[in-house]
Structure formats: C-alpha cells, structure tokens
Subunit: 203 residues, 2 copies
Amino acid sequence: MTASRRATRIQEKNRAAILDAALDVFSARGFGGATVDRIAAAAGLSKPNLLYYFGSKEAMHNALLEDLLDTWLDPLRALDPSGEPLEEILAYVHRKLQMSRDYPRESRLFANEIVQGAPRIHATLSRDLKALVDAKAAVIEGWIAAGRIAPIHPYHLIFSIWSLTQHYADFDVQVRAVLGDQDPFDSAPGFVDTLYRRLLTPN
Amino acid sequence: MTASRRATRIQEKNRAAILDAALDVFSARGFGGATVDRIAAAAGLSKPNLLYYFGSKEAMHNALLEDLLDTWLDPLRALDPSGEPLEEILAYVHRKLQMSRDYPRESRLFANEIVQGAPRIHATLSRDLKALVDAKAAVIEGWIAAGRIAPIHPYHLIFSIWSLTQHYADFDVQVRAVLGDQDPFDSAPGFVDTLYRRLLTPN
DNA sequence: CGTCGGTTTGACCAGTTGGTCAAATCATAC
DNA sequence: GTATGATTTGACCAACTGGTCAAACCGACG
C-alpha cells in the first residue's frame, strides 16, 4: 500500500482527514446512522477514495475505536497508588472532566457504542477494562483499609466519576438547554471537587 | 381512523405492539440505525401495516418520545418543597435508580436522542425541562439558605443525579462487563444513598 | 348471508446504501 | 521527460431504504 516518503505523507494527511470526518459523523449519528457518503463529504474526498484508504465503513469505525480505547483510559491508568489518595482521585476526576470539554466527540463516539450494546468492543471491555478497574479498585480499597479516605464501594465510585464527567460531553445539549447561557465548564470543576471531597474525606 | 369498539381494541393492541417493538429497535440502534422492516419483524406485523398505524418511521419515534418525556420527569416533579430536604432528594435518587432498572430501554432511547444532539426535542428541553429544573433548583437553594442541607450548586446536583442513575441503564453493558457476575442493582442503591447523604448532610 | 368499515398485505417504486472497478491522473525517482 | 507505482474518480451494481397503493381480507351488525 505504500513505500515512498511523499506517498506516506499524503496517506497520513488523508487518513487523518478521513478519521476526523468519520469521528464527526459517527459521534453525531451512531454507526448505523452514519453514511460513507456523509463522511466523504465532511472529509472533502470522494467516496471511492475513502474506501481506498479504509476498506469499509466498519474499518473506519474500528480504527476510531482502537485509537480511542488506547487513550480514553489513560487518566485512570495514571492514578498513582503511591500518591496522596484524595488528591489522586480528585486529579483523576479533573482530568476526566477536561477530556469531556476538550474531546466531546470522542466521548460521544464511545457513548454511542456503549448505549447501543457495545457490539464491537464488548470483549475488550470485559477483558482490558475490567482488569484495569479491578486493579484500581484494589488500590482504592487499600486506601480505605488504611483509613486514608472514607469507606465507599470502589467500583461504584469509579462509575460515578465516569458518569458525571462524561455527562458534560454526552448530554452537552441537555446541560446547556437547562443552564441557558452559562458555560457548564465554568462551574462543573468546582462542583465535582466539592462532591468528591465530601464523599471521600475521612471522618 | 376509528369509531367502533372492536376496532379500537385491535388498534390499541397493535399500536402497543408496534411501540414496544419500536422502543426495542430505536433504543438499541438510534433513530438513523433503525429500520421500519426491523421494527415490523419485532412487532410480528408487516411493514405496510406499521405504516397504516403510524404514517412514518418518524411518527413512531415521536410517539415514543412524547410518551417518554411525559413520564420521564415525574420523579423530579414529585420532589416536594414542603418535605424533609435530604429525604426528598434521596427519594428522588432512588426513584430514578429504579427507573433505570425497570425501564432501561426508555433510558437508552432518551440517551440516544440526547447524545445525537436532540434534534427532535431540543425545543422541549430548553422550554419545559428548563422550567422544571429552574423551579426545583430554586427549592433546593431555599433548603440551602435555610441551612437544612449543605451548600451545593443545585443544577450540577441535579445533573449528577441524572448522570449517575441513568448510567446504570445507558452504560449497563459496560457496568456489567466491569462488575462480572454481580448485579449492579444490588449494590447501587447503597452507594447512591451514601454518596448523597455525605454530599448533602449539613456540617 | 350480505355488506361495510376497519384491517392487512403483496407488489411495487424511487432514492439511498455500502462497495467495486477499470480507467484516468498524479508525483517522483531515474 | 519518462516510467512506475500511488492516488483519484466516474460509472456502475445489488441490496436495502422509507413509503405507496390497489386489492384482498376480516368481523360484526343488520
């Protein structure tokens, strides 16, 4: 499919443009609601040209999901067992909230996939994701056992962080409809900080 | 379209079967990913027969969303300004959590619509939903001013309740992938109770 | 039992879908 | 400048899409 330097540059540019357009369309309409024509239009390329770079609509979707899963869990991976417990968790929450603000399309792509039953990433979830969460839940339970944060169900704690922070990306239109002019991301950081401090501060 | 008693009975049965099938398909695949053929198959009726009861695919979707919006916000409406603040809010949280367990398809239908930009209910959100939330946020602020619950941003409090409780329906497959065999709804009620008690108990 | 409205459907339609392919175009190494 | 492989596209296809329609079917009421 390639060899020369120039060709690689064209490929990289076009592949990037296609993936960006595909992210727009898939995140806004789901896999079934997206069409290759629409992605091609958004990318400024012809439909057969898209199919030249990615053999099928599903291949584009898979490429996006792979990229995404790689980076989406980085903030949780970064939770440091040797750090100060409350500050580690708060830092995680704030990182997740920033991702919702800076990468809402990625969050919605993920949400669409999960809401619709995760047909394409179910295996990855119950293998890689579960392993990561199991490990971090154990860390949290260690902190609880040591009395360094208040006792709480660690898995549900993580679910609550996911749901709340991703809510600002996935349900953005609803949040803004309720809030009116106010930018949710002005007030959200203070709220999540307060919430998890009150939840986790011992005693 | 109707008049006689028998006809009405047939109509009600078929309309209900169609809406149930449509809820299955729309909630699992989004509006764009759903097909009338699939809904017809799920309902055990022919495609032209569906179109006899509902003039178009969009009409089925609209019927579902109207039914849904009517009942979806009932728990929040039930928040009683004259009740005991913490117990009122906890009762709301538990009602929402029960709805996620008992009506996950409805939750996912709503999630699909919002994630994809709420093209069909945007006006309703910024009118009816906003009005309701504004009213209830004022109630909560009153409770805070009276020192009956701890100070917190009332809008984000409501967002957090929505996101956390609906997470168990919308992201059910992810939650179960992480939790393994364990039923999320065994442990979730205790968690949300603890969370909102710690967040809202004064001092 | 016949009729009459409500109900159901097979056949059909135009437009769209994901995907193919041969031919044309392009960039660059020689 | 030309040969060569990478890139691009117009034309095309079979399958599927939402929707239509005339004809058939059905049950109950007179």
